[in-house]
């Protein structure tokens, strides 16, 4: 009896949660008489787009609408490809974003949280201890579908995110996920697209030094050494595979093993750079180690756009423009260099466009997608063309990660990630009407007034009774 009393509500809750999205599952939609912005082609002022079973099956002025489709009157509406957040921790609620900004004023970075109850890792004593390295981890394997930012971002028109943890020097591989799905696996578009590298030194944790590396030059030396070790290990493994007999077997090293695979797969290595000096340093580094890289952060890229273009390196541009910290000392004397960066960072996208650098935007820990679009408007004010802004949020983002054959534009055969608005995407008054992720229709949910608002009581209860340990 007792068991039934407990189990029944749990079952009901479980059914309810599954049933809600499944209640309206017609996978065929047609949006008719809408303004369609395919990004890869000219704007269709009055056209129809058909989404069938998760894919875009027709776009144009005269397309046949399958009889089973739910027809949406698109009069007065504009249809865009779903937006892509090119680097974020959405879906990884417990992690922190990769940090590119070195212009952040004073104060030590927040302390790393030691794993609860776990054994303390001894301080690293050199590159051989592989500090801050978990490159075998994939964001796709750690997704939490309950992260409330998924709904929040989706409601603002983001259908896809490049997800990566920022914890450690090699925090793990970035994955591309669609922002809807019941199970983590439903969300994954590509489980490994890039290898983010952070150059933050090891942090002190619980009053103890975490050891090597404790400086930027130490981190660079470590990253350099571990890539050399990877190249060496690859050659040793090849030689051994040819004739194992009579040879000492190669040593297994989890970090090097994962890096070797990532490099063999031709994944992008993401390197942080804010200003001109850091950018040139990273471009040199990439050339020396023969890495295929993208830069992330890039607030000061306006002063080094031509050099980036010459190296044909794409950029992931943080729209979290540098700001005077809210708790800054009003008497503090800030250098002209800092003030200039804060003033000019929003002009970077326009400068990159002019220099023909491929770039995508990322939210970089901004708390709401509204902030992303508000900040983007500063870039538009600083000369960024709207079509270039849209490309950066869609096709170019997809292209940088090698997914432009399935994402980033409204073309037949692509994944049905679609955004429907009642006006130009970048107008302040425009609202999002509908969002399709993998062909599934979502109505936007109003953003909570406080981004850190607690989940509603019922959900908390549900989780508590759901028997989570």
């Amino acid at each position: 009896m007792g068991i039934v009393r407990w189990v029944l509500p749990i079952l009901c809750l479980g059914l309810l949660r599954v049933a809600v999205p499944a209640a309206a599952p017609p996978p065929y939609y047609a949006i008719r008489d809408a303004r369609i912005v395919p990004v890869t082609g000219p704007v269709i002022e009055r056209g129809t787009i058909v989404l069938s079973d998760g894919l875009i099956t027709a776009v144009g002025t005269s397309v046949t609408v399958p009889p089973e489709a739910e027809v949406i009157d698109g009069t007065g509406l504009t249809v865009y490809p779903g937006l892509i957040d090119a680097l974020t921790t959405i879906g990884l609620p417990d992690t922190e974003p990769p940090q590119a900004a070195t212009d952040a004023p004073g104060g030590p970075p927040p302390q790393a949280t030691p794993s609860p109850g776990g054994p303390r890792r001894p301080a690293s004593r050199g590159p051989e201890d592989r500090p801050g390295s978990t490159p075998w981890q994939r964001a796709a394997d750690n997704l939490d579908t309950d992260d409330r930012r998924i709904v929040r971002w989706r409601s603002a028109g983001f259908t896809t995110a490049v997800v990566a943890s920022g914890r450690g020097i090699f925090p793990g591989q970035a994955s591309v996920v669609n922002l809807a799905g019941e199970r983590p696996g439903d969300m994954v578009v590509a489980s490994s697209v890039a290898l983010p590298v952070s150059l933050q030194p090891q942090r002190r944790s619980a009053g103890r030094s975490a050891g090597f590396p404790s400086s930027l030059m130490g981190v660079l030396a470590y990253v350099h050494q571990v890539f050399l070790d990877t190249q060496h290990a690859t050659r040793v493994a090849e030689a051994y595979a040819k004739a194992p007999r009579g040879q000492k077997r190669p040593e297994y090293d989890r970090t090097v093993d994962a890096l070797a695979q990532v490099l063999a797969d031709g994944r992008l290595v993401l390197l942080p750079a804010t200003n001109r000096t850091e950018t040139l340093r990273m471009l040199d580094f990439a050339r020396e180690l023969e890495l295929r890289v993208a830069l992330y952060g890039a607030h000061g890229a306006y002063e080094v756009a031509d050099e980036i273009a010459a190296h044909k390196v794409p950029v992931l541009l943080s729209v979290k423009w540098p700001e005077r910290p809210k708790d800054a000392d009003p008497e503090a004397d800030e250098s002209l260099r800092v003030l200039r960066l804060r003033d000019r960072a929003p002009s970077t996208p326009a400068a990159l466009t002019k220099a023909n650098v491929k770039f995508a935007f990322y939210s970089d820990g901004l708390e709401t997608p509204t902030d992303v679009l508000t900040n983007l408007r500063r870039a538009l004010d600083a000369g960024l063309a709207r079509d270039a802004a849209l490309r950066a949020f869609t096709r170019d983002a997809a292209e940088i990660f090698g997914l432009d054959d399935r994402l980033g534009s409204l073309e037949t055969g692509k994944i049905a990630n679609v955004l429907v608005t009642d006006g130009d995407l970048f107008d302040e008054k425009t609202t999002v009407k509908l969002v399709f992720v993998d062909g599934q229709k979502f109505e936007p949910v109003a953003e909570p007034t406080r981004p850190d608002e607690k989940p509603t009581t019922s959900e908390v209860d549900g989780d508590a009774q759901g028997g989570r340990p």
Partner: protein, 475 residues
């Protein structure tokens, strides 16, 4: 050691003039001379190699000193600078500096950090470079800190303010590495966090042991590569080790060792260890007790780069005397005076001058402490360090004698290009201040609407409480 700020505040004359220039960013317009040919006429020239030329002239062409003497030809189109009443010296060289380093001067986590290097993290945009140039310095040895028995590699730079990291490197200067002895690497003066393991080494014996052990590894690593390169071992080349590579270069005489040291006993310890293993110490840095073992330093062929009168900031720095530079010079050591400080670098000339007062060095000998001698120590004396035909045109034009307290650098040339001009600097300050105020105002205007929205419309309990004077508050 890395110097604590504010230990000596008395010497502010030059510091003040230079410190006010806080502008940054790209090469200022004035940093380019009107033409590549410059003639400085009728100045008092202190050559640092062949004495003083009263009413002399210097011809600079293509970044080099083309002629120097009582009179030189003035080619058509040359920029002519009237030097009458002014002094010219070679650009000063600071053999120990930690400026322009991004993200930490020390990789202090381990006792051998030779895999790290300041050359990887140069920040050419730091205003310290400009301020040092304003003090007449044109070349600096950018060293890793002194937390490790064997520290990171260095970078020798020219203070080409406005250029990128690649552009400030002293091309062709031999690479170096930092060693450190005594209290810093054994961590005597750093507080230990509770629960932290004490790092090895904790004694001077241990420091020497760490160096010996590292070189034992390096010798083995070198042999492994030699065997491979000689074709004795087939297959995959040995794994590269960024920690040992610089040490092999030291063994092969391709990398200069700059060893932070204070006490005479540790100096002898290191010289003997180096001789035993078979490498040379290029410079002993700080070397406050060098006067006690000057003969041994000279016999080894090491240079000594010291302070004029900076000491007693820790126990191992107690037994110091202002005659150190002069006494070591007398015993045949190549001596330089360094700054180890972004402040002191702005008046290195006066630091050198103290050796005339304490120890009786001649004007030229004193000047050499911050020009030709550090150039010799860094093995760049073919290029810089004196005013001789064929050398780089790194020149400083001074108002008043450069070894007096009244000296103020007026113009500083590096490779024949003007990188500091006092008149232009003074003229530019107002514009920079204006730009700063405008940027601040712009930012404030952007922030203000937000602030208003967030400002509480009615006083809250907290604001009321804060508004009450302290003495009225109930305990």
């Amino acid at each position: 050691m890395t110097r604590q700020l504010g230990t000596r505040s008395k010497r502010v004359l030059i510091a003040l003039t230079a410190a006010l220039a806080w502008g940054t960013a790209r090469v200022p317009a004035h940093a380019q001379a009107a033409s590549d040919t410059v003639v400085i006429r009728d100045a008092t020239i202190l050559t640092a190699s062949h004495g003083r030329i009263e009413q002399g002239s210097i011809l600079v062409r293509d970044g080099k000193i083309a002629a120097v003497g009582p009179s030189v030809d003035t080619p058509g189109g040359a920029t002519v600078i009237d030097g009458s009443g002014l002094f010219v010296t070679p650009g000063l060289i600071d053999c120990h500096s930690h400026m322009a380093i991004d993200g930490g001067v020390n990789e202090g986590s381990i006792s051998v950090s030779s895999m790290a290097g300041t050359d990887d993290v140069l920040d050419p945009t730091t205003v310290e470079i400009y301020r040092a140039a304003a003090g007449g310095v044109t070349t600096a040895n950018i060293l890793h800190g002194s937390a490790n028995a064997i520290g990171g590699t260095n970078a020798v730079i020219k203070l080409r303010w406005g250029k990128d990291a690649e552009g400030i490197r002293f091309e062709g200067a031999p690479p170096g590495i930092k060693f450190a002895l005594g209290e810093n690497p054994k961590r005597s003066n750093s507080s230990l966090q509770p629960g932290t393991e004490r790092r090895y080494p904790a004694t001077r014996m241990g420091v020497i042991d760490v160096v010996r052990e590292a070189f034992t590894d390096a010798v083995e690593y070198q042999a492994k590569w030699r065997r491979y390169e000689a074709g004795d071992t087939a297959g995959v080349p040995p794994a590269r080790d960024l920690k040992l590579e610089p040490l092999v270069e030291v063994l092969e005489g391709k990398r200069l060792v700059h060893a932070h040291s204070y006490r005479s006993d540790e100096i002898l310890q290191l010289l003997r260890l180096a001789e035993e293993i078979g490498f040379k110490i290029a410079t002993l840095q700080h070397v406050l007790e060098g006067y006690k073992v000057a003969d041994e330093i000279a016999a080894h062929g090491a240079g000594a780069s010291t302070f004029s009168d900076w000491w007693a900031y820790k126990v191992e720095a107690f037994d110091a005397i202002p005659y150190n530079a002069a006494l070591m010079t007398e015993r045949g050591v190549v001596v330089s005076i360094n700054s180890d400080s972004a402040e002191e670098v702005r008046h290195l000339n006066q630091e050198a001058a103290k050796a005339m007062r304490f120890g009786g060095l001649s004007e030229e000998q004193a000047l050499q402490l911050v020009t030709l001698n550090p150039a010799r120590q860094l093995q760049v004396d073919e290029r810089v360090g004196s005013i001789d035909v064929g050398k780089d045109a790194d020149l400083v034009l001074w108002k008043n004698h450069p070894l007096s307290v009244y000296a103020v650098a007026q113009k500083v040339f590096i490779d024949g290009q003007l990188y500091f001009d006092r008149e232009e600097d003074l003229a530019r300050r107002a514009a920079l201040e204006k730009e700063k105020q405008e940027l601040l105002a712009k930012e404030k205007a952007r922030r203000e609407p937000d602030d208003k929205k967030k400002a509480p419309r009615v006083p809250t309990v907290e604001t009321t409480r804060r508004a009450r004077p302290r003495w009225e508050q109930q305990p």
